[in-house]
Amino acid sequence: MFYSIEELVAQSHDYPSVAELMIATEMDNTTRSREQIRQLMARNLEVMEQSVKEGVAGVHSLTGLTGGEAKKMDTYIEAGDFLSGQPILEAVRNAVAVNEVNAKMGLICATPTAGSAGVLAGVLTAVRDRLNMSRDQQIDFLFTAGAFGLVIANNAGIAGAEGGCQEEVGSASAMAAAALVIAKGGTVEQASAAVAITLQNMMGLVCDPVAGLVEVPCVKRNALGASQAMISADMVLAGMLSVIPTDEVIEAVRRVGVQLPSSLRETGEGGLAATPTAVALKKKIFG
């Protein structure tokens, strides 16, 4: 088991990959066999794919606050006239799709949470064909992301109620960035730097769900979290480094989370949830 990013990086050198280290650790910690572990992850991948497909086709939440916007992005990409790049926009579309399905109480795979489930599924389904990833490589992608996520979870947290959205979409975006770096042929040290760079920008992000629903701003934060994972990965692959070591960044995220007042930790009392429009929406939805 690894308890820090430093240990994860060091231990991974004894294995063919970070994914193999994660699988070996899982076998040590549980009663499951290697085949069972890979099968469970394959099932998670299937649910991710299905939620992307369902959301892109167009869904709507019970409240009507969110839905139909993954489809809008799909049409926009089809038209082919956009400012940024197609892989990023596909990641954005797919992330929105998953969280629109989540908002309507559809079936998703939490990565690390349901409110942040769009990021990892979004980037993986946007890059897998471009990188010619086999089914096994896609499953490895999820083990890699899980390894980095596990360290973040144990040293900071993954609940908006504990530490704000920086620990939900922030963690999701960081672990997605790390998995993207490895999938593109980067080193585990570069993956670690991508985690640090991503979390530095996500730090302080509050959890302020409008009307206490996992819809606004959650769906669009997943979209932007996915785009940031792609950019962070490209930054480190270009040779950029993080000045502050990754473990120190994660500890800083934990400290910032502790300092956030309760109104900004998933109580629906601060931030966007306290705007006049949000207050009016809450009254309209719940009376």
Binding site: M1, Y3, M22, E26, N29, T30, T31, I37, M41, R43, N44, V47, V101, N102, A103, M105, G106, L107, I108, C109, A110, T111, P112, T113, A114, G115, A117, L120, L142, F143, A145, G146, A147, G149, L150, A153, N154, N155, G157, I158, A159, G160, A161, E162, E167, M175, P209, A211, G212, L213, V214, E215, S262, R265, E266, T267, G268, E269, I285, F286
Partner: protein, 221 residues
């Protein structure tokens, strides 16, 4: 070394669940399911006390629906989960939700009180993120149950020799016990053992259930 609360890659990638929140929906339903399994029978009455973030957002996050779904025995990916309140009503179970303003140890906390005749159970559960949970109090006793390792929970009469009888079964099967918590409702009434083990052996469950004075045994992976 940090406080290790997450042990498995599937705590991070997973669970597969119906939305919208892993802590407020999947975690809440898991707490409900564990409480139901410990109770061992269908309750007539369910009182749920919600604290902090759970108290503020339970309707928007579907926490109420999820806890009742779990108490009806549903897993986080059960497609019937959104209909749980209706199903409980149809089954004649009386359900109340009470948002509380008290400060508690974790912002996502729920106290669940189940009743059937004289049989009563009170459990405090915490949803710590990503659908992962901790049970921290059982009938007023402080416990720590993370559900991250294979765990047996036994409910039995509070008579001498029960601990020896139970541990003998694990010993004979060469299964190592990691941690063990023993608690009881009152002297001479019902007692509870929470046993975290290193391996699962299917036959053990039946052997434990067959012990004299054993009321109920459940296993969680």
């Amino acid at each position: 070394m940090p406080d290790i609360r997450f042990h498995s890659v599937f705590d991070i990638i997973g669970p597969v669940m119906v939305g919208p929140s892993s802590s407020h929906t999947a975690g809440a339903s898991r707490i409900g399911k564990v409480v139901r399994d410990i109770f061992g029978e269908a309750p007539e009455r369910i009182d749920v006390y919600l604290y902090e973030s759970f108290a503020k957002t339970y309707r928007g996050h579907g926490t109420d629906v999820a806890i009742i779904g779990g108490l009806l025995g549903m897993a986080p990916d059960d497609p019937q989960l959104p209909d749980s309140l209706k199903l409980a009503h149809e089954a004649g179970i009386k359900v109340t939700f009470v948002p509380k303003s008290d400060k508690v140890n974790h912002p996502n906390s729920a106290r669940i009180v189940l009743q059937k005749g004289d049989h009563k159970l009170s459990v405090l559960g915490e949803s710590i993120g990503g659908g992962n949970i901790r049970i921290t109090e059982l009938n007023g006793f402080k416990i720590s149950l993370s559900m991250g390792t294979p765990t047996y929970i036994t409910i039995h009469d509070d008579v001498p020799g029960m601990i020896a009888a139970v541990t003998n079964i694990f010993s004979a099967a060469k299964i190592n016990i990691g941690t063990m918590t023993v608690t009881r409702e009152a002297k001479g009434e019902r007692a509870i053992m929470i046993i975290e083990v290193d391996a699962y052996e299917p036959e053990i469950l039946a052997q434990l259930k067959a012990l004299p004075h054993m009321v109920n045994v459940t296993f969680f992976e």
